[in-house]
């Protein structure tokens, strides 16, 4: 089974060009940090409440990213809230996207194609080799958003991260998304981690909006 991080990164690969779509720029880094915490929650390594996050299982896993994040959490007990941990993971500047892509390539879902633009600039593409996992992710997102059923925990998390990354327009049409906006908000709000990711992205947007004022 793919991790939440891998599923979101897979969704960001344009199926025609193999290029990565990242419509929300810096906000995506917060969302990917959120995906790692969702993975840890699904693996029952951490638990959260409305504010705090805590480790519940210290045994190492087979996933290098999870172990690295859990190690850091153990070393920095002074950081307690979900929001602060999302910020801390953001500031580490880990290449979460790159690690997820490497894993998807290793699993035979994507392949790496390198080329040059204007003979100088390195360009990487990730054409899809096995389309089944991506179709599965898209089908689960569509089902969770378009019906009124209670989705599986994993699919609730997936909707909230895909929304934070701005990837839902690659799954459903604009009219469909517009019609189901309230449903998407309900699903995103159910999980503390996604609420805090949205707060962090909101904070970043506000900072970026103020940046030109500080310069003048």
């Amino acid at each position: 089974m793919l991790s939440m991080l891998e599923e979101v990164v897979l969704l960001a690969v344009d199926e025609k060009t193999g290029h990565l779509e990242s419509p929300r720029g810096f906000g995506v880094a917060y969302a990917l940090a959120g995906a790692v915490f969702f993975d840890l929650a699904l693996a029952r390594k951490i638990d959260t409440d409305t504010d705090e996050i805590r480790i519940v299982d210290t045994n190492p896993s087979a996933n290098a990213i999870w172990n690295r994040v859990l190690d850091e959490m153990r070393r920095r007990p002074e950081i307690r809230t979900v929001r602060d941990w999302i910020e801390a993971l953001f500031r580490r500047n880990d290449d979460l996207e790159g690690e997820a892509l490497a894993s998807l390539i290793a699993q035979g879902i994507l392949r790496l194609e390198k080329s040059k633009r204007l003979w100088i600039i390195d360009v990487e593409r990730f054409p899809i080799v096995n389309d089944r996992p991506r179709k599965h992710v898209k089908a689960r997102l569509a089902q969770a958003i378009l019906t009124n059923e209670i989705p599986d925990t994993r699919d609730i998390m997936l909707v909230s991260i895909a929304e934070a990354c701005g990837l839902l327009p690659y799954v459903l049409s604009e009219p469909q998304l517009e019609a189901r906006r309230e449903r998407i908000q309900v699903l995103c709000n159910l999980e503390t981690i996604s609420r805090k990711v949205a707060d962090a992205i909101g904070g970043l947007d506000a900072t970026l909006r103020q940046a030109p004022l500080r310069l003048s």
Binding site: I46, D47, D152, T153, V186, E191
Partner: protein, 105 residues
């Protein structure tokens, strides 16, 4: 630590939950609620004695609600109080689950 007991009242299976619903107890909570939903057409989860709920606990309740939907059983969460009620409100659980002030029976 969590304690769970079942009572049948006026056609409802009331699942009385006492203690903390967190990562340590979520599996037990979900199992108990699913089991009640599997055996009874009307299930009420009585939260009056639950004093803490984490995200793992909320997910357990939500997935029990999903199981009830699949079986077309009635499922209601009742008498959520204090800080636990606040968590339910912040998460917007009332949008996806039936939540009542009192027991239905």
């Amino acid at each position: 630590m969590i304690q769970i007991a079942e009572q049948i009242r006026s056609g409802w299976c009331v699942v009385e939950i006492r203690g903390r619903a967190d990562a340590e107890t979520a599996e037990e909570l979900e199992r108990a609620l699913r089991s009640a939903i599997g055996q009874h057409p009307k299930v009420a989860a009585d939260f009056v004695a639950v004093d803490y709920i984490s995200s793992a606990g909320l997910r357990a309740v939500l997935q029990a609600g999903r199981a009830a939907q699949e079986r077309q059983a009635e499922f209601t969460v009742c008498r959520v109080r204090g800080p636990v009620k606040k968590v339910f409100e912040v998460s917007g659980m009332h949008h996806v689950l039936r939540i009542e002030e009192d027991l239905p029976c």
